[in-house]
Symmetry: C2
Subunit: 218 residues, 2 copies
Amino acid sequence: MYSLAEENYLKAIYHLEQQTKGEVSTNAIAERMSTKPSSVTDMIRKLADKKLLSYKRYKGALLTSDGRKTAANVIRKHRLWEVFLVEKLNFHWDEVHEIAEQLEHIKSEELISRLDKFLGSPDFDPHGDPIPDKHGNVKRTEKKLLSELNKKQRGVCVGVKESSSDFLQYLDKKKITIGTKVTVLGKEFFDGSMVIQVGRDQFFISKKIAENLYVQTN
Amino acid sequence: MYSLAEENYLKAIYHLEQQTKGEVSTNAIAERMSTKPSSVTDMIRKLADKKLLSYKRYKGALLTSDGRKTAANVIRKHRLWEVFLVEKLNFHWDEVHEIAEQLEHIKSEELISRLDKFLGSPDFDPHGDPIPDKHGNVKRTEKKLLSELNKKQRGVCVGVKESSSDFLQYLDKKKITIGTKVTVLGKEFFDGSMVIQVGRDQFFISKKIAENLYVQTN
DNA sequence: CACAATATTTAGGGTTGTCTAAAAAAACAT
DNA sequence: ATGTTTTTTTAGACAACCCTAAATATTGTG
Ligand SMILES: [Mn+2]
Ligand SMILES: [Mn+2]
Ligand SMILES: [Mn+2]
Ligand SMILES: [Mn+2]
């Protein structure tokens, strides 16, 4: 089994790979993990020795399929625990991430399999992120950022990009949650700000908000 | 907050104090933790510096009230998680200890408070052990070992001393669980073995079995 | 292309928690 | 009480992870 530190590196690299679509740089990993590039070099070497990723000096890291599977499994655990915390323990969706960061490292296949069943095998976590299956496969759905919509387009909120407490609490205040229907009433091309309709309310949102809300249009 | 290693030492010392009713020796701790006495010396120094226990060279360790409270809290978490695993995830009582050993180190007051409520604030874990309250207080009940009973006495099984898989599976085979009524039909003073009645069955048990089953007589 | 800026690695350490081997203290036995 | 056995501590080392500072490779710019 892998150590807590190793699992956290794998998870970080997994997420970064999705953005960069290719090798992940030492500095990017250091940034994401709030650690120093020299520490990253050490760890990446170790993970390469264990065949969890491939690494050539100065060329960045790329997960092997073993590494990708291991990372996906940690993410699966994280998201299942988040569902548990929200659905069963009635935590609010902005309170669960830190606790799930700890719970995701608990080692027991059986535990996760039973937890999954107990929760009704959910497909998404409380923030709308997909839960990988036990083989590490993620069902990708086509979703776009609210900021990509144009005037008069309509979408259903399916997730958040950021899930900081501040952002989630803002959404609550505006009565936006997973499943909420949003219509773009106006879009300002100068600053990307929008006026949107949510239920009976109409209000202004900045580009930053629109860039952190995922919607599905159908 | 305390490290995983520190919490495990505190827990071990807490349990040992209950047996020895006084200072706990370095060797006893080493034995219980499957570690070396020299490692124990290092750690109890550190815990003494942190005022979690008092320690004088060659004189063994004694938890301070801070240390005792911290230990009881870890045990509270362990036992609550065991209840969760058995009651909610349908684990068998012989499968939960190892997983609870990991879960007991998750750090979040709020999590435990909500978990406790979710489980209906149980007083005992699946093995009949009392769950300390949030202040670290344990409700002690008078229970005795089945081996202390004499011929014709009757008791209700309220817990197990050992909770190894082997022992718990033996109990299952004999249909003994928490709440089961047991009557001593015969007791052999030479080897401490007994013949007992459980439901409609009568059978022989060794002293070792009788010494690991707690009963309440009233 | 050369040089400056940036990214990455290497060298050398620190901390936590573990171990073995040896020294010292305490307990036991005659 | 003295010698032996057992317990406990000390000394020195190691693995996992992390850090700072310095060296080196890569990238970007004129
Ligand atoms: Mn999360
Ligand atoms: Mn999430
Ligand atoms: Mn247990
Ligand atoms: Mn238990």
